[in-house]
Symmetry: C2
């Protein structure tokens, strides 16, 4: 095999050992591990001691950095990450979360998008950059949110149900916004006709897959079961021969990612929708555990890559100023959108959920905002703003857990938490 | 991310869908799935209809084939495959299998090696080619053998225990032979001194890891447990914080693969030994299931790559002749070595195991022979002989299962099999 295996293995070992160790230590002290992995990426890209640089030490024998492999592994990692998020997203959760979650999600998308868009328009009046920034402000990280709520053992409070439901809807809305923005950026067109076409194809693609989840998957499952039952009735010794569902899931994931690319959407949208197709059978086929194993291998590369793209020489006082403004905007806009949504949604409820807790719970952007900005890089989103988005995502992800923890503890004292824990 | 994601996804989808579907159908009819995957690789490399070629359709946008990615995924796939084989190889199985398995293994290595070496020396008097061919003739595929025995439900017969034990030892001897051959080929030296150095470093590396498995791992496990127990005694609310063992295992796997490369051995030897380190905890940490999930994603790329390297335009009548001779030699030499080993080992036993069954059980070469030849390609092993080895591996893997099945059924009639099945 004509590849430089030694350099490849060296890169894999250095990245994995640094990323996993840092994530382990960060988690130990309550900081999400992905923050540590992003920092490792920043370190790899920027650590220079005299003539020696860490990035240089990981070069291939021909002197080029293992850039293609790192970014390919990062792409595969983020595809499997979104597939895993999709696996946790059941269509019936989406349809049963009710008015409050929907309102929290929709207002929690619109207000941050508008804030991000207007801010960049005012700053440099570039519609494309403004669109990407708006999109990067939108999505709540369902992974981060769910992990915090789970760790706090408040999974069965009303606030938690609304936050998780809204975060899931948020993800889908975020995907649609990203699809529209990427579509507009790649067609290079801002005409009404092309916006309508892209919106329509994004919405149709998403709705078609959701409809397939709701009607197609149960139908196929039933037919396959009937087939095997009839065979068994005819022959009691019949042993059904079934495929490895993990193979089917992986192939579907790549196929829908490719399909999304073909129609001009982001590959991760396809991966997310592919996950939703398998959500109902995920437990029975042990797909969540097995996809999680693949993610243990691959996802670190995505977060390291995210950090790797941060060129510290770009971090001027200007960038830091921009980042501070944007962080404040990101927190205020998401909190406000979710708070107002919750207030309206819970109006008239006998036991209204705390709009404050829900507002805080929606703040962490986690990987999704970064993802949008990383996609933006391909379409001329400037590296400077990318760094701003990474800082925004990292900071919102770091500050949300302690704030959320305090808010929950105020409404639900420890006795409650212990009871809740026992019930889970 | 500056990579051609669309072409990459297209390649992944085409390779995975073709490979998994073919393997599924082949398995259905009792043919090992890897044979189907190799055929898919041959198809991708060679299918041309008029101006259109399947390989060309999978090219990157710049007109080059996704060769680097395919071979990198293949490398990662085979590293995880050998890691998984190592996970199933416990040191205590190695030390407790007894005289018979050891004799079967050793004679089953020496005789095929000598046959392969002498044949190529006579054919073209090239010591390096002859060494690689000898090494390619050596290893029994423990995966194939174990799968056949498991499917036949004769796991607890004496013959099965000897065959599996011998196949495991065979793997290790095969690794050492490969290490020596690769070391000699890469140093380009046939001097006695360098052979001794390489043999010594291979043997020391393997023995050091085995010793670490036998003494280091239990010691570390005990120390970690004691640490947590003491903490728990001091504070009843203490919750131990432990790393994800899959992360540790993956990092160790890559690190030992890299270490093996550095000292001039094959990367897969390191991966195999890394697997052995985790063999005792594999079940408790669910490592086997989770590594298996990673292999579902990656291993197909290795077998497809194996087929992809077979250029059908190389298959002259000369190659076919060579392949026929080599297949006969591979079958006779392995059968003879294992048969003689079993006869000697079982001499004086009150219920001697059938040397005939053991001889047949050791025939399938599966992936290991191909692996050796694929490594050889890097060191000047000719493509023509590579094709011969692939044909030899494929044929021995296909013919062994039905022969083994018949031999077992003759000694153990179906009534026995049913009883055995009930006991498992």
């Amino acid at each position: 095999m004509g590849i430089d295996l030694q350099s490849i293995l060296l890169m894999l070992v250095v990245v994995l050992v640094l990323a996993k160790t840092t994530a382990f230590v960060f988690n130990r002290y309550g900081i999400p591990g992905l923050i540590g992995e992003i920092l490792v990426g920043i370190l790899i890209a920027n650590l220079t001691i005299g003539d020696w640089s860490l990035k240089g030490a990981l070069d291939l024998a021909d002197g080029t950095f293992n850039y293609d492999l790192l970014s390919t592994l990062a792409e595969l990692g983020v595809i499997f990450l979104l597939f895993a998020v999709g696996l946790e997203t059941k269509v019936k959760d989406l349809t049963s979360v009710g008015r409050s979650a929907m309102l929290v999600a929709v207002l929690g998308v619109i207000i941050p998008f508008v804030f991000g868009f207007i801010f960049i328009e005012l700053y440099e009046s570039n519609v494309e950059h403004a669109l990407f920034m708006g999109a990067a402000m939108v999505a709540t990280s369902v992974g981060i949110t769910a992990r915090v709520i789970k760790d706090m053992k408040v999974l069965d409070t009303k606030e938690s149900r609304i936050v998780i439901g809204a975060a899931v809807i948020d993800d889908i809305l975020g995907m649609i916004v990203l699809a529209i923005v990427v579509g507009m950026a790649s067609s290079g067109s801002m005409e009404v006709g092309s916006v309508v076409t892209i919106t329509a194809s994004a919405v149709i693609f998403v709705l078609a897959v959701i409809a397939f989840c709701a009607y197609g998957v149960p139908w196929i499952t039933k037919k396959v079961e009937e087939y095997h039952e009839n065979k068994l009735l005819a022959n009691p010794d019949y042993v059904p021969y079934k495929p490895n569902m993990l193979s089917v899931a992986i192939a579907t994931c790549f196929a829908l990612a490719l399909a999304a690319q073909y129609i001009g959407l982001a590959a991760i949208i396809g991966a997310f929708l592919a996950g939703m197709i398998f959500a109902n059978g995920a437990f029975a086929w042990n797909l969540d555990g097995r996809i999680d194993a693949i993610n243990v291998l691959l996802v670190s590369f995505f977060f390291v890559y995210v950090g790797f793209m941060v060129d510290l020489s770009q971090v001027s006082s200007n960038v830091l100023m921009l980042a501070c403004v944007l962080i404040v905007l990101a927190i205020i806009s998401k909190y406000a959108g979710a708070y107002i949504g919750a207030k309206i949604g819970e109006r008239g409820s006998p036991e209204p959920a705390s709009a404050h807790i829900i507002g805080i719970g929606m703040i962490p952007r986690g990987e999704v905002g970064i993802l949008v900005a990383a996609y933006g890089l391909r379409y001329g989103f400037p590296l400077e703003l990318y760094v701003v988005v990474v800082l925004m995502s990292v900071i919102t992800t770091i500050i949300a857990p302690p704030l959320l923890s305090r808010a929950f503890r105020k409404k639900y004292p420890p006795e409650y938490l212990i009871t809740a824990d026992d019930r889970i």
